[in-house]
């Protein structure tokens, strides 16, 4: 390379710029992590969607005896923040069905893609509010498992910790609630098929449903760190007691007004990079299930594992 006059000054400038850039890279990007609103840490729960956006990877194992089949499901969720308060979510599930007649079916469910905007995070009142829309893309799953039509689910998400309660009721401060409310619209109103016995066309209507799901949490972490050190040791000092109420009301077709859902009492342990959880699933009626099921959660905080690469929002 030929040196030109003044190039040493240029080199120095570049060197200085490079150094500044390095320092910027090394500086901590002081930011709020996944699921925090002030002191409150909201864990990811089992079946009720998080009110926050994050960079996370989850595997949920779900086993329950439904009205006419025993279902075992492995749900895989990946969330990615694009902006600090806007993220995308991808869901997949592998489903194994054991029908009452003895037949079985296996396969992937439809691919789900969602977008969520966390438009409010209030530290003082431990409140998080988000809106989002989820698309369950029809035809992307195995046809004996998944619907052939797409379902669109706009929803409102909330999380509220009770840390702003007065001193006189300080033992209630570790409580929090989270929830989701939103309709699920099928993009096709019904499926037509021909009855092999009668030769007549049968139309099965796809109902619109309303999801109203919430969780009640009592955080032993919060109790221990902010209210009263009651001497809990590991692993209890990082536990959050969670009871979920994932409910769905049918709004059209033959099932109009009918509710399905479960009550899921369980516990979550939140470590630095991972979260583990286990819960029972108690059906609220015979349409929701016939026996108590189980839920197991394994969760990775990608933003803590890889804070400067795949765990950070793409744009700041």
């Amino acid at each position: 390379m030929k040196r030109r006059p003044g190039s040493s000054a240029t080199a120095l400038t570049w060197c200085a710029l490079g150094l500044v850039f390095m320092i910027i890279l090394l500086l901590p990007v002081s930011s709020w992590a996944h699921g925090f609103a002030g002191k409150r840490f909201f864990p990811t729960t089992f079946q009720v969607d998080d009110p926050f956006i994050s960079d996370e990877f989850s595997v949920l194992i779900d086993r329950i005896k439904g009205p006419d089949a025993k279902t075992t499901e492995i749900d895989i969720d990946y969330s990615k923040r694009i902006l600090p308060n806007f993220g995308l979510e991808f869901h997949e599930a592998y489903v194994h069905l054991k029908n009452d007649d003895g037949s079985t079916a296996n396969g992937w469910d439809n691919l789900g893609i969602g977008a969520k905007w966390q438009f409010l995070t209030n530290a003082e009142h431990e409140t998080i509010l988000s809106i989002g829309t989820d698309f369950d893309i029809g035809g992307t799953g195995a046809h004996q498992i998944a619907d052939s039509f797409t379902t669109i689910s706009p929803a409102f998400f909330f999380g509220k910790g009770l840390g702003d309660l007065p001193e006189s009721v300080k033992y209630l401060r570790p409580f929090a609630v989270t929830g989701v409310v939103g309709p699920n619209f099928p993009t096709r109103s019904g499926n037509a098929s021909i009855d092999p016995d009668t030769g007549q066309t049968v139309v099965e209507r796809n109902p619109t449903t309303l999801t109203w799901a919430f969780s009640v949490q009592y955080s032993l972490m919060y109790l221990q760190s902010f209210v009263k050190d009651i001497g809990l040791g590991a692993p209890f000092n990082r536990m959050i007691l969670v009871t979920e109420f994932p409910m769905e009301t049918c709004m059209s077709a033959d099932c109009k007004g009918k509710i399905t859902g479960t009550v899921n009492p369980g516990v979550v342990w939140a470590g630095k990079f991972t979260e583990f959880g286990i819960a029972a699933q108690i059906p609220v009626n015979s349409r929701s299930g016939r026996a108590v099921g189980v839920l197991g959660l394994i969760h990775l905080y990608i933003d803590d594992l890889f804070p400067k690469s795949i765990g950070a929002p793409i744009f700041h």
Binding site: P28, V29, S30, S31, W32, A33, F36, G38, K39, F41, F57, I76, Y78, E92, G107, W108, L111, I137, G138, G139, T140, A142, H143, S148, K170, M221, Q224, S225, F226, V227, K228, D229, N237, R238, K272, F273, L300, Y301, I302, D303, D304, L305, F306, P307, K308, I310
Partner: protein, 128 residues
């Protein structure tokens, strides 16, 4: 019944395996900082004024961005203003206090962990 996208189970399996492998790669010891225990203890009633207030975190914290204050019941700052990360333990945040009169005190802290995540909190203790 027709499928819209030619996504095969095989492809999906490979993608998920890659994603899982990515998540399993060893990570540096970072993670947001959460208090492990403190002295005086959270919500405790103690007999005499402590010399300092200390909080042990579950991971190392950034000295430049971490602080600890002690307020009295009227919200006035009573610590000596020398809050620091202990030089021999990067997970210990401490501040010294003068001899405190009986009463309720609030400890207010804010820390940035090595992963850049900020956490904060507060708690009270009472001197009899």
């Amino acid at each position: 019944m027709k499928r819209f996208l030619p996504v095969t189970d095989h492809h999906r399996g490979v993608v998920l395996c890659l994603l899982a492998a990515l998540c399993m790669t060893p990570a540096p010891a970072l993670g947001h900082a959460f208090p492990e225990h403190s002295d005086p203890r959270v919500g405790a009633t103690i007999a005499a004024s402590p010399e300092r207030v200390r909080i042990w975190f579950d991971s190392d914290i950034e000295p430049l961005f971490s602080s600890l204050m002690v307020h009295d019941a009227s919200g006035r700052m009573v610590d000596k203003g020398d809050s620091r990360v202990n030089p021999s333990n990067a997970a210990l945040l401490e501040v010294s206090v003068p001899k405190l009169a009986p009463g309720a005190y609030r400890v207010i802290w804010s820390v940035v962990a090595r992963d850049g995540h900020r956490t904060n909190g507060d708690y009270t203790f009472v001197i009899k």
